[in-house]
Structure formats: C-alpha cells, structure tokens
Symmetry: C2
C-alpha cells in the first residue's frame, strides 16, 4: 500500500487552494520557498533521522546530538547557506543543541550590547564557530528577578580587570543551554562592583574552557544540571551550572555599548539609549510568538490528520465506523486550536512589523511607543505560549491512547515546547507587567496622556462603558466590528473595574498584590483582544487565492467566538452581552465547525510540515497510520531480543519460586 | 546544614493538629499506619532507589524495573505481607511494572469473570506468580469501542477448543501492560464465534509464552510497542502488541461466570447477573478517583513546599525577598489544587461506600441504583483525572524553571499519570455517557420515575428553575446550603436547557451529536456538584482533632468558590446568581486564600508522603532545596567525564575548522 494517500478523499473535499494558503501561512512566497526547500533538504538527509532518539540513554543522546550539530554545520558550509537558510536548517533538524544558544543568544547579545570594537573582536570568531558561546544569566537562586542575581564582577583598577566570582551557592549559574559540556565562552550577567559600589547587573564575555584541551579554565567549575522533562526533548541540550572562583577577565570584556567602565574605574553611560534593551526584547518575543504558532500547528496537524484516519463507534450494518473528527466534541476541542495556530501566526507577523517600527523610532530617539510595545509583546508572549503548551497536550489527548506513544510525536513536542512558558519571562510575571501597564494607562486617562497602539481603545473607555451588544441573530456574530467591540468593551471594563478596586487601597502596591489574580484576568482579556483584532486586520488586506480568504474568515470567527464562549463569564459579568447573545454565539460556533470540517485536512496541509519535521506516525501525510505504527514498534531496543535482559536473572527465579535463593 | 528543617517556621504557623489531619487524609488510623509503615519500609531500602532512572536508556530502565519487581516480591514473601500491605509496597515502589497488571487486572478479571472451577484452577498459580498475566483488550484499531474488537475466538466443536485469531492488522492487541516482554498468560478479549454466529466480545485465558524457555508459543507474535511519554515514567512497563495465528485453547479457558459455551457449542447464560460487570467498573473507577487525589497531592505537596522556599523579588533594604507562596497569583493557582486534592479524597471515600452499597444490592438482585452508580463513577473518573493531570502540570509551572528538571519530580509524575485520562474510558467518552444518563433521567421526570442518588436533585427541577441566590454579603458564600443550592440550580438548568434543545430535533441521536459539546458542559456541572456535595457531607460528620475541621471547611469553601469563579459564565447565563454575587464569591475566595496560607505547609505534610515517594528535591520535607539540587546535578551520566563522549569526534573539528575533512 506504500504510496497510497489514505487522506486523498479528505483533500478532495477542500474548498480552497491549498498552495495559495501555504504562502499566506509562510508569510510570503520567499518565506514559503525557503522553508520548503530547507525542510526537504533536512528530511532527505539520513544523518538527520530522529525517530529512535527517544529510547537513547542520556550520553548516547548527547553524542547523537553533537554528531547532528556538526553535520548540520558541515552542510551549511558545503552548501554555502546564508544566515536565514542556516537558521531554517537548524530549526528543521528539530533537536535542541548548543548551537541554538550560540546563534540565538550569544551572538545576538554581543551584537546588541557590544561596542563596535567588541563586535569586531568577537563576531568573526563566533560566526565561524571558532568559539562557541552561551548565555549565562539565570542562577540557582534567581531567574525572574534578574536584578537579584548574585554573581559579582569586581573591577580591579590595579590590573585593569574584572574579577568574576560566585559568592554563594545560590549564585551558581544554572540553566544556560550549551554551558554544561560544550561552550568555550559565555555572556555572563553579574553585578558590577567598583570601589565597593554596586552598579547592578551587566553583561560580560568570559572564556570558560581552554581552546586547546576543552578543560574548564582555572577557577571555573562547570557541569550539566541533569535530566529534564521528556525522553529526548531538551535532554539533547547541556543546560549547565557554572561557578567562578575569582576568575579574572580583561576590562574590555564587559559589554559596553550602553554603559562603560573606564581605565580609572569610572562608570559612564554612552550616548546609545538604554531603551535599546527593550528593542531586543520585542525582537526575541516576536520570535517566540511565531514559534508558538509553529509548535501549535505541528500538534494540530497531527491531531487533525489522525482524527480523520481514526474511526471509532457508529458503524451501522457493517458500514465503516465514524471518523472521530466528525464528533462534535472532537471538533469543539480541535478546531479552536487550528484557528489559534492561524491567529498566532498573524499576531507574530504583526509583531514583526511592530519591531521594525519600534527600531525606526528608536533611531529617531522617539521612545513614546516603547512601553506599549513592551507590554504588548510581553502579553502576547505569555498568551500564545500558554495556549500552545496546553494545546499540544490537548492534541495528544485527542489522539486517544496512541497519542501517548512517542511515535505519535506529541509527547516530545510537549516536553520540548513547555519551557517557552517559563523562559524569557515567566508567563504569570509577564501578565502582571501587562496589568501594571494597563493600570498606568487608565490612571493617566484624565491627564490627557492618550493611550497608544494596542491600548488605544482605552481612550474610548467612557463610550465602551456604555456599550451593549446589539446582536440579534447568530449570524450577527460573524461581523468583525460586532466582535471587536464586544472584546474591547469586555477588556476595558475588566481593566476599569480593577482600577476602581485598586483605588480603594491606601497603598497602591498592596492593592496590586491583593488584586493580582483579577489583574491577570484583565490582562488576558486585553491580550486576547489584540490577537482577535490583528486577525481581523489581516483579513482586511488583499489575500489572493481561491477560497483562501473565506477559510481564514471562518477561522477568525471560530477563534473569536470560541474565546467568547470560553470566557462567557467575563462578557456577562461586565454586562457586555446578554445570556441570549452568548448562546447565539455558541450556535454560530457550531455551524462554523461544520463549515471548517471539510477543509480541515487541507488547512493543516497548508502548514507544509514534512513528515520528518512532524516526527509523527499519527500525523503522516499519507494517513497510513496502522502499518507504520506496527512497523515502528519493532524498532524499540526492547525488541532487539525475544527474551529481555534481566529476565533470567530476575523474573525466571520468581516464576520458578526460587527467588529466596536468588542473588538480586 | 544536614538535619536542619528549613520549613520549621512554616510548620509552626499551622493552626491545626497535623497528626490528626493525617488520619483524616488516610481515611482511618489503620490506613494511616499501614501507609506510614510500608512507605518507610520502601524508602529505607536502597534497592528501591529511583533517583537515577530518568537518565537510563530503555533496556537499562527495563532491567532496573525487573530487578525492583523481583526484589519487591521477595520482600513481600520474606516479610509475609498480606494483600493490602503488598499492594502498598508496590505503590510506594513507584515504578510501573508488569506486576501492576498482573495484580490489578489479570487476577481481578479471573476473580470477577471466572467460574469457581476456573478460579480454583488459575488463582493459586497467579497468587504465587508461577504464571504472570496481563489484560489484553485494546487493539490497534479499537480502544474506546470495545464492541468493535476484531480478534476472534472461534469454537471448534470437533476438538472442544477455541481458535484465537487476529484476522487483520488492526486486530493486533496493542497497549496491554506487561504483555510485551514478561507475561506468560493473558486474559484476551475476542469475539466469540460459534457456527459462524458472532456472540460479541468475551474474555479468554490464553497462555502466551512457554513456562520453560519463555519463548512465545507457536502461532503467537509478541513485542513491545515502543517508547511512551516521559524519561522513565511508563517506559518501565512493557506495553505490548500481540497477534494470534489460529492459536488453540481448551474450551474451559473462556471466562464463563456469566455466559458459557457447552461441549456441544451451545451459548448459554448462567444465573449470575450480567450487571456484575458494572460492579467491577464501579470498583476500578473508585480506585482511579482515589489515585487522582494521591497524584494531585504529590504535585501540590512539591509545589507548596517549594513555593515557601523560593523567594523572588520584593527585597526591601536588604531584607529577604518575598516567598513566592505569598504572591496572590501563586495562591490563586496553588490553593484550589490543594483543595481539590482533599475534595477528591473524600469523593473517593464516598465512592468506596457506593461500591459496597451497589454490591449488596446486586446480591439482593436490586439493580435499581446501578445505572446511576455507573454514570456517577464514570463522571467522577473523568472529572478527577482531568483535573489531576492538568493540576500536576500547573504545579510544575508554579515551580518556575526548576520545575522542568526531572529532579523536581514533576515531569515524571505528569508523564506517568496522564494515561489515567485515557484508559478505563476516555474522559470525553465517559462524560458523554453521563450526559446520556442525565438526559434520560430528565425525560423520565414526568413518568413518575424519580431520579435517585446523585441525580435526586433533578427531582426538584421545577423548584430549582425558580431559584435565585439570596447571597448579600461575601460571608454568605461560606454557608454550605447556599453553595449546594447554587451548584444544584446551575447543573439542573444546564441539563434542562440541553434537554429542551434536544427536543427540537426530529432524530434524538442527531440532536445528541449536534449538541454534544454543550452536553459535556452540563455533565461537568453535574459532576462538580457531586464533589462539592460529598465534601460538604463529609464535614457534617464528626471530625476529631484540634482545628482539623476548620481547615477542611476552608478548603471546602475554596474548592466550591474556585469552581464558581472559574465557571461563572454557567452561573450567570443560567441566571442562578448575579454578577454582584459572583464578585462577592471572588472576594470571599481571596480572603480564604489568606486564611489557608499559614496552614499550607502543614496541610501538605498531612499527606504524609516520604521523600522517596515524592521523588522531588523541590518538595523535600526539610526544604533544603538548593544544596541538594546542586548535589544531584553531578550524578547525571553526562558529568561522568569532563569532556563528553563525542566531543573529540564532532565538536573539536568544528572549533578547529577541520570539519570539512572530518568523518562524521
Ligand atoms: C529549558 C530551559 C532553558 C533555559 N535556558 C536558559 C539560558 O540559556 N540562559 C539563562 O540564563 N537562563 C535559562 N533558563 C532559565 C529561565 O530563564 C528561568 O527559569 C526563567 O526566567 C524563570 O525564572 P525562575 O526559574 O526563577 O522562576 P521563579 O521566578 O522562581 O518562578 C516560580 C514561581 O513564582 C512565581 N513568581 C515569581 N515572581 C513573581 C511575582 N513577582 N509575582 C507573582 N508570582 C511570581 C512564578 O509565576 C512561578 O509560579 C532556562 C530555563 C529552562 C526551563
Ligand atoms: C499507558 C496506557 C496503558 C494501557 N494499558 C492497557 C492495558 O493494560 N490493557 C488494555 O487492554 N488496554 C490498555 N490501554 C489502552 C486504553 O484502554 C485505550 O487507549 C483507551 O481505552 C482509549 O481508547 P482509544 O485509544 O481507542 O481512544 P479513541 O477512542 O481512539 O480516542 C480518540 C479520540 O476520539 C474521541 N472519541 C472516541 N469515541 C468518541 C465518541 N463516541 N464520541 C466523541 N468522541 C469520541 C476521543 O475522545 C478521543 O479524543 C492502555 C493505554 C495507555 C495509554
């Protein structure tokens, strides 16, 4: 049956041009072609096979990863891939390794925080991987609270050096990827101390290991922090620990783009605006939002295809059973996640624009939109990663028992993805930042400080406080302005309610603490409004391709009405809509599920994931699930022998009642 | 610092007697002493150490498990443990193995479905583990739909045998634990065929492997189905696949307690009621609910203790930072889970009673409460396992980055627990059964068929449709009857609304399909009502111990009001409460969090988990987290050598720019 497309019927049902949708998903024809080409390149290279990694022990897995990382680098050089292509190649390799941190954090940190000279000194080495770097910020005792880091960098004016030191156990660096076994260098964050004065946390470039024999340099203790969630997942990465015992580095290894220490030990600011850091944050978080859409799209692709293959119950007079994708409960769990994947994609696209906008303004020394951009990206990072993480697990459950097998691809996808909820800002801590920003925006409403960007609607707060939805029929919920207004009114009222409750406290900080759970709900409402609005704005653009825009409209409505249904309590308690209007939305949602159903397979095909990248037998493009599951099972190491290792020693004596004498 | 209790201050804050609470949690003094004794026995036996299992490859892990299983059996015999004690010992070993299925499914299946003779024939062998059995029901193609199984057992009247056969690939048995490598026997479910007539699915005892050399018997293909979620988790179990090629077994190996095949090939029913099967289901699901409370309690214990150890932000003038447990967001995420663990415990206790009640009635041929008991246990199984699974992951997130380490115990707890959402009935499929039962109960309201047990409130539907909460002040929400009435009204109205919508369909089955997402919400509301009610009923009993009942009252209110807040949309849209009353509930909830805060550590101490069983450095009893995390890291196999295996081969050539020539 090799070569048969078991999902051909499903593909024929589609009411839109899937090739055009692929380009919309990718963002441009260029992006599509790039991804398509590189993903196939990786998929067709046997060196990148990954289907057996889950059964390896830690050392084997790590070695396997080193081999792939080196092979990837070799191919990048042989093929002369540019930066964009090389990044894609690493992405599609789909196995976390030290190279991720080298390219994703070490190099950007030097680019962002290093002076021109520093960049000239370090980047050529890093770009050729003659040195390998990591990003050493988090410590055993401090992650979220970066200002609380304990590692010190004390300036010694006599020798013109900084002395890096780990004064306490909790000051040990802990978590940096690539640190444990591989990195030769690190950007280390430490408290700058000059003449006993603490200038707060700054970045330093430190060499960790000898370039000759790879041994840690004197005064440096390094190790791996041990196993993490999942079988392979992030265990291919050497997240590490690091301690300094009075290690000296030259003064010019402090990253000095924004502030500098002079030869005499004077601390000075350069002319480069400090706000630049926020620019970098916007950049990194935009990528995270984009990645959230990718991770979710992979899970949704697997669950959707398998739900069309899997049949259970409902056979009548010998007819085939019902495809589980036809059950309304399955649809109500799956299709909102499909819609979310698209929604986050467009939110990510918009964030990319925002980043450019912010950077242009920074150049022009216009910092006015920066706080809003910062709050907005913090919020979207939090929202999208949380939904993606939960969504992957929901997709796994949607696959029933077989979803629990690593060969489904879903367990490892979950395990490798979830740290995104924690790194680059714990999701709850981030939402609190958003809430703080919203409260500030509201407190300034009367002072003529008009809220900008994604908070502009708060400027219409008075009007929104009067709002009552005028929905009369289920179809009314398909109108973009009806939806946006309801979401604006809900978000505004939740924030206003918080602001009002806060005003009852004498000490605003006490109030903020006490009400923080409510504040998080208000922040969430605000972020959901952003995603809904950006999806709708996307649809106001020209989108070519037969039926493409229509499908996206359906997805957009599903996304919004699903949220409305899920958070109906918010809408009702703020009196934005009536219970009747809520149930009309629910009715509309059901009908949208039916509309999307015939297009579901084509909509996940549009993600253009290769079978290699999906790494899932349940999600195979051809739907040939059962024979391949059966085949794959035999490859488990336990099946190498008929009688498992340990049987004769431990189980046979038990069966033969000889256990008492057996040496265990 | 060894021996110092870093959480002593926290323990001193407690306002109740933790030893008394331990007994309430355990259910009785006997249960407490048993658990306490056996858990310490296991914890103190170095053979049962489990802290390094996550870094093992599949084969090593499996061998490690065989050793522990054999050692466990040896200790059980040496110490002459009774059945109850032996079960506890296996539980506290905390590593899934073939013995779980042998004792948990194989033996009970023979007890429940075998005739007296069959029990006499097989149980002595099984009880001594001279044979090892598993439970082979699920196939590659069918899990939820048991009636769709394809394996056949065809009666051959000539030889007085059944011929077991796997006619299709999808008929391969797939998933049974213990099957892949160890079991010598299985209870196999197959379609009984006599003279070409299909009598549906029945159970058969089949020998799979030779008791001499352990090789599969002729005609039998067996293997392991491969890696599953997590590092170690369920990978210590040999979930297996099994195919029969016309394998013959004697007629008396069909389990014949309820129906029989005679020597002549006649299919007859015995006098034993078929409903017995439901009794077994109630039994198994009661255990699952109980296990849900245990699993959740472990996660909550870890997250609570670590939240008291972890400090982040909020240092003023050099004072220590804030314990993260003092953040209201942390409390709003953590304390409802703490309350849920207790709530599920009491729900499980009540189900135990229900099981006895059902069995007594069965003896007396009273089947009247059976459908209700069945629906109720299905619902509670679904509700509690879903909440426990999500709750474990939430607890992991509550621990920030360190929760992602296996040494936190949480990743593996999640990975090993989540199948409970799928086996013994997929949670969504189960809720649909509950919904079906509710709709039936409502349809019979006018026919004088009074709803019984947990659905009795539907008998007061008319009255509940008139209900409006009379809450005026936040404290009113502390009154049990106020809470129960609101939950009853909400559940009744949601079910009634579904029933009304269903009545609009010509074909009720079409309606049920179309509205199934709403039906699931109604079923959930019903199940939550049960848990709330049973918690409240528990508190109407005499509960000795200083302050114990008071704490439980707070937890009960937290459980109920948290649900009310989370599902506020249900309460508002059904017009049971007003938005104002909803926000009063929320206000009360905040104050309850403050009340429970000083007792939080003692409340998780009351679970009486040993450090061995918790398997978590973050959750250590003594709170000595950081030094132990640091110590544990060094034990990872990657730290065996300073230079990792693969470095010279793959990374050094890269650093030295010699990659082009290197043989990768
Ligand atoms: C896989 C992985 C890779 C990583 N890679 C790197 C790396 O390469 N380099 C690096 O430097 N670091 C890395 N990290 C570390 C990561 O950045 C931190 O774990 C992250 O910042 C979270 O901080 P934390 O662990 O201190 O969480 P904590 O702050 O300790 O969080 C614990 C709990 O406290 C709550 N909390 C904390 N503060 C507040 C507050 N003010 N109000 C309310 N609640 C609060 C949180 O919500 C959470 O529930 C990595 C982490 C992981 C898991
Ligand atoms: C760790 C583990 C151990 C196991 N151990 C054993 C064992 O020892 N012995 C054994 O025999 N089996 C075992 N099983 C198998 C287990 O019992 C089945 O996986 C389980 O019954 C679920 O069935 P399924 O896999 O067919 O799910 P499916 O029914 O295929 O579920 C797939 C999706 O379809 C949906 N769905 C299915 N039917 C309907 C419907 N009518 N309406 C709406 N939605 C529907 C589900 O909700 C789910 O989202 C084990 C499974 C696991 C994961």
């Amino acid at each position: 049956m090799e070569g048969v497309d078991h999902l051909a019927d499903e593909r024929n049902k589609a009411q839109f041009d899937v090739d055009d949708m692929k380009i919309v998903w990718a963002g441009s024809r260029h992006a599509y072609e790039l991804s398509d080409r590189i993903s196939r390149l990786v998929a067709s290279d046997p060196e990148f096979k990954k289907d057996h990694v889950t059964s390896l022990g830690r050392k084997e897995l790590f070695k396997n990863t080193l081999r792939k990382a080196a092979h990837g680098w070799k191919r990048i050089n042989e093929l002369g891939l540019n930066e964009e292509e090389a990044l894609k190649l690493r992405t599609f390799m789909d196995q976390p390794s030290f190279t991720d941190l080298h390219w994703g954090m070490f190099v950007p940190a030097i680019k962002g925080q290093g002076t021109d000279e520093q960049q000239q000194q370090w980047l050529p080495l890093a770009n050729k991987m003659q040195i390998i770097g990591c990003y050493a910020q988090t410590e055993l005792g401090h992650g979220s609270n970066v200002q609380g880091l304990e590692t010190t960098a004390t300036f010694d004016v006599k020798t013109d050096e900084f002395v890096l030191n780990s004064p306490t156990l909790t000051s040990s660096k802990w978590w940096p990827g690539g640190l444990g076994k591989i990195s030769t260098h690190a950007v280390v964050y430490a408290r700058l101390i000059i003449n006993d004065k603490d200038y707060g946390v700054h970045g330093f470039i430190a060499q960790l290991r000898s370039l000759d024999d790879h041994l840690p340099l004197p005064g440096i203790t390094i190790g791996d922090i041990g196993m993490k969630f999942g079988s392979a997942a992030y265990n291919s990465m050497d997240n590490g620990l690091l301690r300094f015992d009075h290690v000296r580095i030259p003064r010019n290894q402090m990253l000095m783009r924004v502030s500098q220490v002079t030869r005499e030990g004077k601390y000075v600011h350069s002319s480069v605006p400090r706000q630049l850091v926020y620019g970098t944050m916007v950049y990194v978080r935009q990528i995270i939002v984009f990645d959230a859409s990718v991770a979710l799209s992979r899970a949704v692709c697997i669950a959707t295809r398998y739900s069309a293959v899997r049949r259970q119950f409902g056979s009548q007079n010998g007819s085939p059973e019902t495809q589980v994708i036809d059950y309304k409960t399955q649809q109500a769990r799956l299709f909102p996640l499909l819609a979310s994947a698209y929604a986050f994609r467009f939110a990510g696209e918009w964030l990319k624009w925002l980043y450019t906008d912010v950077m242009e303004r920074l150049q022009a020394k216009d910092f006015s939109t920066l706080p809003e951009a910062h709050a907005c990206t913090a919020g979207l990072k939090s929202l999208t990663t949380s939904v993606a993480a939960d969504g992957i697990e929901e997709c796994r459950k949607l696959c029933g028992g077989h979803g629990y097998l690593c060969s489904s691809g879903l367990p490892e996808l979950f395990a490798v993805y979830i740290p995104a909820c924690t790194y680059e800002g714990d999701n709850v801590v981030l939402l609190l930042q958003v809430a703080r920003y919203l409260m500030k925006a509201i407190s300034q409403l009367n002072s003529g400080n008009k809220p900008v960007g994604t908070t502009a609607y708060l400027g219409r707060a008075e009007q929104l406080m009067q709002y009552h939805s005028d929905v009369l029929r289920a179809e009314d919920w398909l109108k973009p302005n009806v939806v946006v207004e309801a979401f604006e009114a809900r978000a505004a009222r939740m924030s206003m309610a918080c602001a009002q409750n806060l005003s009852k406290f004498n000490n605003p900080e006490d109030g903020f603490q006490e009400l923080s759970a409510d504040l998080i709900e208000a922040a969430t409402a605000h972020c959901q409004l952003i995603v809904v609005s950006k999806f709708i704005e996307k649809l106001q653009q020209d989108i070519p391709g037969k039926g493409v825009k229509q499908q996206l409209q359906v997805l957009c409505s599903i996304y919004a009405l699903f949220l409305l249904h899920k958070h109906i309590g918010d809408f009702l308690s703020t009196d934005c809509i009536t219970p009747k209007q809520g149930s009309l939305a629910n009715e509309q949602l059901r009908s949208l599920y039916s509309q999307i159903r015939p297009n579901a397979i084509a909509l996940v095909d549009a993600f253009n994931h290769t079978d290699h990248y999906l790494g899932s037998i349940l999600g195979r493009y051809d739907g040939n699930v059962y024979p391949k599951l059966y085949e794959a099972a035999w490859k488990d190491p336990l099946n190498d022998t008929v009688i498992p290792d340990g049987f004769h020693q431990y189980v046979q004596p038990l069966l033969k009642q000889q256990l008492r004498n057996a040496r265990l």
